[in-house]
Symmetry: C2
Subunit: 345 residues, 2 copies
């Protein structure tokens, strides 16, 4: 039953490469890292490279990491694996990291506390990307406490320079302008808890752009308990019940929009006939809702990549500016928005 199980033919080491090429291992190391202070005879270089190829040699990164205390790894902590918006950030960070030789460890921030950070540090992780969307401020402070570089992603941190965000103010504007152009005058906002959108840019951008056109009055805002579709459903239902006058709602993140759509459907409100919905963040999913959701696409993949770059700078001992993505958001018109046709009720 048990297969013979070959002895696993230990991978070749640098020593073997050196022996085969007839040189010292230090030379091999220097060559492979192209150490600036080294000059190597072309012939020797070839012999070494041949040996590397013939043996199929790869550096043992564990050993290297032990010596250099650079693990070439970063951790990406996120509150839940299933939010597609985070998935895009992860995808961006991962792609960039991989292209620079870094690996990405994923962790769910479950009941994880600061201990987890130290665990990562013990593993040789060089830095951490913290998708902090729905974390408490205190929690974030706690997580940033260690001496491991941390960048908060998609969330601004008041006292710190270690964060990377997209320009939600602009995103909000775009959504507002769209609704305004369609002719909506009574609009509502569905957003996440205060710790989310902590700087208020999403709502403010929206309200500002709307302001002059609708009489300067701030739109009614309902705050959900979290960022899941269920949260959106509950808060959405509340919004619709409390503000029957609104003809359009701006959801500050996609999953809330998704929940709102259901709330409308359960309340028998036609979208976009009686209610228009526009939400931030465009992912595939939005196209497949009924009706397909109009969204404002924010450059989340690029954010992931930029956040990684920022983290790398910190790791290298620099003190980079916080990242704000300049790449403009784009409005994706779909079927969930239309001119206000008739009053509800």
């Amino acid at each position: 039953m048990a297969e013979p199980k070959p002895p696993a033919a230990k991978r070749p080491t640098m020593k073997q490469v050196a022996a085969r090429a007839g040189v010292d291992v230090s030379l091999v190391s220097r060559l492979l890292n192209d150490d600036p202070r080294l000059s190597i005879a072309p012939d020797t270089r070839r012999r070494v490279m041949d040996a590397v190829r013939e043996l199929g040699y790869r550096r043992n990164l564990t050993a290297r990491s032990l010596r250099t205390s650079r693990g070439l790894m970063v951790a990406f902590l996120l509150p839940e694996f299933t939010n597609p918006v985070y998935s895009r950030i992860v995808a961006g960070a991962h792609r960039r990291a991989a292209s620079l030789g870094y690996a990405v460890m994923l962790s769910e921030l479950d009941d994880t506390d600061a201990e987890d950070m130290r665990g990562h540090q013990a593993r040789g992780v060089d830095g951490v990307l913290l998708a902090a969307g729905n974390l408490e401020d205190a929690r974030i402070a706690e997580l940033c406490g260690g001496d491991l570089p941390v960048i908060a992603v998609n969330r601004q941190i008041p006292g710190s320079r270690r964060w990377a965000v997209v320009d939600y103010g602009l995103g909000g504007r775009l959504a507002a302008e769209h609704l305004r152009e369609l002719g909506h005058r009574r609009v509502g906002v569905l957003t996440g808890p205060g710790r989310f959108d902590s700087d208020g840019s999403r709502v403010r951008g929206f309200a500002d752009a709307l302001g002059d056109a609708v009489g300067g009055e701030d739109p009614p805002v309902v705050v959900a308990d979290g960022l899941t579709p269920d949260d959106g459903l509950r808060a959405g239902a509340e919004l619709l019940a409390r503000h029957p006058e609104v003809t359009a709602v701006f959801a500050t993140t996609l999953m809330l929009g998704v929940g709102l759509l259901r709330a409308a459907s359960e309340a028998g409100i036609a979208v976009p006939g009686e209610l228009s919905i526009v939400s931030l963040h465009d992912v595939d999913l939005a196209r497949f809702m009924s009706p397909p959701l109009t969204t404002v696409a924010m450059p989340m993949v690029e954010l992931g990549a930029a956040a990684f770059d920022q983290l790398l700078a910190v790791i290298d001992g620099q003190d980079p500016e916080p990242t704000v993505m300049t790449q403009p958001p784009v409005l994706v018109r779909r079927a969930s928005t239309a001119p206000p046709r008739k009053e509800r009720r």
Copy 2:
């Protein structure tokens, strides 16, 4: 501009702990690993533990890994970050891994080839979970080629014992029974490319359970090019066009079902009025479609955990049986299925 940047106060080493407790480092190591051959005076043990606490000591896993050649890490390779079904597998594997002290590196199988495996190996990864849903057989073989343990997850591999799956046969049955009970007699199947569902269990389970009730004739099957909602949309449209007689469709994975729903909507076919849809895999998303999708929930989170356990066994030199989740799937009735009411067309 550049902050002073504290010298980063190197983390304490075992040597320091040993010094502070007045013992040899080997003793500390043995104690911390509770080495069986060790007996330690209670007093000494306390001194060491105190030193550990006072210094806030954590083992350096890199060094340990170098010595033991066990990295306490696994890699999870998946074709795309955005598929929520994979996310659940990842979540399950991650949770289990974390509870056993393992970290999980995530990689997108982009243009990744076998080289990537060797990269992971060089990093000290102990094994790989390969979410292989839509990979070619050849590709998988290539990836399993190295001497790093690999478990294919959610995909059966013909010649191998290294895979973990849920019981899609049962899932298919359940879907079929549901449609049969509702009274459907002309049903279609929407599935992924052959490499997906390679053993055909999803479709076969469905067809078998249907067989006797609908005259033994196999249902029409349309095969999508991939597993994204877009693939489902295209193939779904084709299915609806080619088989106008069907009153219900079974989608073998959620994203195809989502695409199909849109195809129906675009074709002006009412769901569930004119067409019932049931799909495998239940994730939050399904509840928020319009109409909410009836699904067969497969234990994907548990699959992730079990696959990790299997991988661990292989890492430990055992030759475990392939994993087949016994936990039964459960039918989640929602609004996308109903008795056939009227003929389409």
